[in-house]
């Protein structure tokens, strides 16, 4: 598709429950990113993928968060045993970086989905 599709739009979980968020990147984009946006607009980088391989996971709280991007499937972000502090909007973005684009002066931009609002009660 031509836009990043995130599902569900809203998700409510009780503390301790599991939450799973999905992201379908733009077709042909090889990079996928997950961000967490909490109050006051602050974004926190969680993880990035290059195709199905983890590219950078330094932002992930690994004890409860996991993510995958498998071929022919939407990418997913899973939170085991949610906590109140996990309440946030989770954004997925995709990008098709090609070195030759940079040499041509083309932009390297990420396209964001509409986000999934997770509320932990």
């Amino acid at each position: 598709g031509e836009e990043v599709a995130q599902t569900p739009k809203h998700l409510v979980r009780g503390e301790g429950q599991k939450a799973k968020l999905y992201c379908a990147p733009i077709k042909g984009h090889s990079y996928v990113f997950w961000y967490q946006q909490v109050l006051k607009n602050e974004f926190k980088f969680l993880i990035s993928f290059q195709n199905e391989n983890v590219f950078d996971e330094t932002g992930m709280p690994k004890e409860r968060f996991s993510a995958k991007c498998l071929p022919n499937s939407p990418c997913s972000l899973e939170i085991q045993a949610t906590k109140l502090e996990d309440s946030a909007v989770y954004f997925c973005a995709s990008s098709q970086f090609r070195l030759r684009d940079r040499f041509r002066g083309l932009n390297t931009e990420a396209f964001f989905g509409q986000g999934t609002r997770l509320t932990v009660v």
Partner: protein, 113 residues
């Protein structure tokens, strides 16, 4: 990773030019400067990107001085629909070791009639 500092909020009137400046004192050689716009309940949307000097597209201009320690997003003749949060991002590219684009807190622009 380069940290960015922007004004928390700005007010303007329709038809005026708005300049939002972002400081990024420890920008790295491989870092690009990118600006995104975010409306409520939506994901950020790319506006403009640059490395040095001036970049202009159909919606904005980006001014980057020679030392690259700051950048200014210029929005000509804003309208009410430009009311949004504007983020300045500084980040490298995948082949340099990572594409961990870091968002700052953003600047909330409010355009009045």
């Amino acid at each position: 990773l380069a940290k960015t500092t922007q004004p928390i909020s700005m007010d303007s009137y329709e038809g005026q030019e708005v300049n939002i400046t972002c400081s990024h004192n420890n920008i790295a050689t491989n870092d690009y400067i990118t600006w995104y716009q975010q409306f409520p309940s939506q994901g950020p949307r790319f506006i403009i990107q640059g490395y040095k000097t001036k970049v202009t597209n159909e919606v904005a201009s980006l001014f980057i001085p020679a030392d690259r320690k700051s950048s200014t997003l210029s929005l000509p003749r804003v309208s009410l629909s430009d009311t949004a949060v504007y983020y300045c991002l500084v980040g490298g590219l995948p082949f340099t070791g990572g594409f961990k684009t870091i968002f700052g807190a953003g600047t909330r622009l409010f355009v009045k009639a």
